[in-house]
Symmetry: C2
Subunit: 139 residues, 2 copies
DNA sequence: TACCGACTTGGAGTGCACTCAAAGCAAGCC
DNA sequence: GGCTTGCTTTGAGTGCACTCCAAGTCGGTA
């Protein structure tokens, strides 16, 4: 609300945090690899704050929106459930007070991720071994 | 059909390849972590050869069945599509001639897996970085 | 002025991988 | 015999994450 709160938020966002409405949905599609459908759907479920609109009602996304979407895409790549991402987005909207909760959420996901990497690597070994078996049998 | 074909198959299967019908569906549930529903469904879609039956018509799975299911579970853990696993299972049923195709299928999946591990590790770095950011801000 | 392509909406549809319901059978135990 | 537990079947239902549809508006170019 006050400048005292607004300032740290500004810092948090970093250099990519420009709020100027710039990009059409089509440009964001190109930049993020998400579809226009998915962008609207993300907005509807609260994963994305409703972006600015042009005078004719078309969405105009900012750099801040785009970098948030890029972060979301990375999380999706790790199969984080959309519901968890919504939770994170909600906390983010609620401001500075929730940063401990957000940190906890990320730490939890980091654990999940580390375990999954370990699982994948273990399975990779099994597959390597099967492939070797087939290779030996061939000659 | 002939012994000349049966022998290499026997070798391929290794020590875990006992075909004796042993385990009820409940026991296989405990051993594999899959549900009974899922086991029946796997059978229906051709992922699992129809197992032996008791005199009263109940399924009796062999060690061979169980180790195949354990392998399938590992593949599922890596999010291999069920359709691909069905393809692999089909090739396996068709016998020795398909081992090159099976090898190719596994090699393809290995590539997918390697890429995914790399993606996850990259995202892990991003998350680490975010967590550090929250940590610094807290004190 | 005509046209094209990009954009808008809400609600319905899709594909995947299960997951469950309902109704019934069989075995083991008191 | 009665009860419980575990199994059987087919077909329908679920949850997730999109994905598409229809019908319309808007901006820019020829």
């Amino acid at each position: 609300m006050s400048l005292a709160i607004a300032l740290p938020l500004e810092e948090e966002r970093g250099p990519e945090a420009d709020d100027t409405p710039r990009y059409t949905i089509g440009e964001v599609v190109t930049r993020t690899g998400l579809t226009a459908h998915t962008l609207r759907w993300y907005e509807r479920i609260g994963l994305l704050e409703p972006p600015a609109r042009s005078h004719s009602g078309q969405r105009r996304f900012s750099d801040r929106d785009v970098s948030w979407l890029e972060f979301l895409s990375k999380l999706r790549l790790t199969a984080m459930p959309v519901a968890d991402m919504v939770r994170y987005a909600q906390l983010r909207r609620e401001g500075e007070d929730t940063s401990a909760a957000r940190k906890a959420l990320l730490e939890e996901h980091r654990e999940v991720l580390r375990n999954r990497i370990a699982d994948l690597q273990a399975t990779l070994l099994v597959i390597d071994c099967k492939i070797d078996m087939y290779a030996e049998r061939q000659q």
